[in-house]
Amino acid sequence: MRIATSTIYTNATNAMSSLQAQADKLSTQISTGSKISKASDDPLASARLALLSQNTADNTVWTANISLAQSLVAQSDSTLDSVQTQMTRAQELAVEANTGTLTDANKQSIATELQGILASLGSLANTKDARGQPLFGGSGSDNAVNVATDGTVSIAATGNPSSIPIGDGSTIQATDSAQQVFGGITTTTGTTSDVFSIVSKLITAVQTGGDIGTAGTDLTAAANQVTNARASLGARGSRLDMEATAMTATATSNEALRSSLQDTDVTTAVSDLQKTMTILSATQASFTKLTSLSLFTYLS
């Protein structure tokens, strides 16, 4: 084919500008570390990255919620541990009070210690959590228990505390209400009572000097109730641990996927850039040679 002089120039310009563009693209990919700078670079990968980015944002907030739930469970557990210690001491005192050789003064001192235990239980039940809310609160933000001036403790928080979202459609109730932890105990008489009333009843029995009778049995039931509540929290604690592990695994695999979709393979990119630049400099050299070739050069 006959090649017009202008075609030689146009072809060389086109070839060089396309090589320049290629080199620029590779250099941008290397410097930014990302092979996708806009969605149209790879629409399919961009669509998956958009989904991944949403997943990652969701997982981040759910992971934070799981941490919060874990801290609430841990706080409940340690508080209930203290409650159990107090309950154990109350049981010991109940046994001691049942001994027939006690003087009135001895009984009075036991009653006083039991009153101290009741006050401690009331104060433990009203512990505040990391969010500044009652740890054993119910659906409202009121106190978990009310402590009257005469030392009587009554349960205020009923209902289920709000569940915390920890996954897509998945929630966990990280705390229990005071009613769930301290209440709902079936006594020997068949009525339903709570930890505080049972301890109060024991105190009255000790003070009046009579037989404490069924109060000791009820106290055991109360201690069991607290143990059960603690066990239930423990189960939720393990579920949270598993969820946290799953979240970490998801985050790791999401990151691996994101990296494979988005990150520049630096080795390949650098080698491609080197190749492009070699071709570009060869094109420039051949262009210079080709254009210096003209019959007019030889006419004199």
């Binding site: 806009k38 149209s40 629409p43 669509a47 969701d58 979202p165």
Partner: protein
């Protein structure tokens, strides 16, 4: 001997013309739209004398021939129109892509909903409430900015469309003048050849704006129709049409062609005008989808807000207000305590209405709709970019094929220059020889 003298003189004249044609070709080697010219050198037909002997009369430059190939020129026009259409689309789709992804719309909507999930873990936290309200403001401003960016593109497209039809009208008028010139120019003259070059150059510029179908008459005058041969006439003889850019109520673009008293609607399939009409379509559908998502998002969130209860136990009020366009969104809820995290009757620590918000998010699919919009635009852009690359190669080869016929090759011109220079010198020598011979007759005493 006067025969020899006149033959020599005719040779000198002929090769002078031939040499100036070569010089013209060399001078225009890089002129766009220039077609290589050659001189038709003809023998002057001899007359038979009474004696029956042959008389020779020398040569004459019969006319100037343009090395044009109308089919190759038509190929260049067609491939230019195809390329211009795709490149225009690519450029506007690129701007739509920037508008859709520049404001991180999907990310900000996600941030709003994750702030809701974060608040659900601690419904009484003022910090979490403030964060959620901030992310609502951020999502609203992203929607607003995206809407404004698309509106800006629409108005830029309008002015580009107006400029394009103005250029087309200017080219049509020029072509009508060229046609007029061709009616008056003598066929084969240098003037006619220059006018034909101008005609081809104008036609090529027109084909960058719209696909054209061209027919020429014996004088070289072009009749141009927009689109295929059944399309409205842009130029015939000395009459040129005026094209206007029309955007209808639904936002789609068309062109009307007015010539004399006639008007016609044209839908070009090539050139920048086709690319502009196609881009208008893309912008309209992107705008419609953004509007839909914005409306669905604001009404969805407001519905959840108003069905719930604030931190202070009062009924929730709307979070977003919409202005003149669906994306003109502002956040009207200013107090973070006003976020209705609780259901009616729930306490301050109730978060069940935030669960409803999460349900609205799942059923509304706002984020995936926004991501899908960006992706579908990106997929179209990516496909068009590939097409443009292919069309660019097709056009380059069409141009190379045309230039191999019409373009100037300096080596060829150098050869012609030598050839004609030598012929010129030889003809001069013939004149000298004739003079010498005549002189020798005069010298007879």
């Amino acid at each position: 001997m006067s025969d020899l003298l006149s033959i020599g003189a005719s040779g000198v004249r002929t090769y002078q013309t031939a040499l100036s044609t070569v010089a013209d070709n060399v001078a225009n080697a890089s002129t766009a739209g220039y077609t290589r010219k050659t001189v038709d050198i003809k023998e002057v037909s001899g007359a038979t004398s009474l004696q029956g002997t042959l008389t020779l009369n020398g040569s004459v430059a019969g006319g100037i021939t343009r090395a044009a190939d109308q089919y190759k020129s038509a190929d260049v026009r067609q491939s230019s129109a195809d390329l211009a259409s795709t490149e225009t689309s690519v450029s506007w789709l690129g701007r739509i892509e920037t508008a859709l992804s520049g404001n991180q719309l999907s990310t900000r909507v996600t941030a709003f909903f994750t702030a809701g999930q974060s608040l659900a873990a601690d419904p009484t936290s003022t910090a979490a409430r403030s964060t959620m309200l901030e992310s609502a403001t951020s999502a609203a401003s992203a929607l607003k900015a995206t809407g404004q960016a698309l509106d800006q593109i629409t108005s830029d497209l309008d002015s580009t469309g107006d400029t394009a039809v103005t250029s087309l009208n200017g080219l049509s008028a020029s072509l009508a003048k060229v046609n007029d010139g061709l009616s008056k120019a003598a066929p084969g003259s240098a003037g006619a050849a220059q006018l034909l070059d101008q005609r081809d150059s104008v036609l090529e510029q027109m084909s960058a704006l719209t696909d054209v179908s061209v027919t020429t008459d014996s004088a070289g005058r072009a009749t141009v129709k927009m689109g295929d041969s059944t399309g409205p006439t842009l130029v015939t003889g000395t009459s040129a049409a005026v094209v206007t850019y029309v955007r209808n109520a639904s936002g789609n673009v068309s062109y009307s062609v007015h010539r004399d008293a006639e008007s016609a609607i044209a839908s070009p399939t090539g050139g920048a005008l086709a690319g502009i009409a196609d881009s208008a379509q893309q912008i309209v559908s992107a705008r419609a989808e953004i509007n839909r998502v914005a409306t669905s998002f604001t009404t969805g969130v407001n519905a959840v807000q108003t069905q719930g209860q604030t931190l202070d136990g009062t009924a929730g009020t709307a979070m977003f207000a919409t202005g003149t366009t669906p994306t003109d969104i502002s956040v009207v809820l200013t107090d973070p305590r006003g976020i209705a995290a609780a259901s009616v009757g729930g306490g301050a620590t109730d978060n069940s209405n935030l669960t409803a918000l999460q349900t609205a998010r799942t059923s509304g699919k706002y984020e995936s709709a926004l991501a899908a919009l960006t992706t579908s635009n990106a997929a179209t852009l990516s496909a068009r970019t590939d097409v443009a690359t292919a069309q660019s190669a097709i056009r380059d080869s069409a141009v190379a094929a045309r230039d191999s016929v019409s373009g100037v090759t300096l080596d060829d011109e150098a050869v012609d220059l030598l050839k004609f220079q030598q012929a010129y010198q030889a003809s001069s020598r013939v004149i000298q020889t004739a003079r010498d011979i005549f002189q020798s007759i005069l010298d007879i005493r």
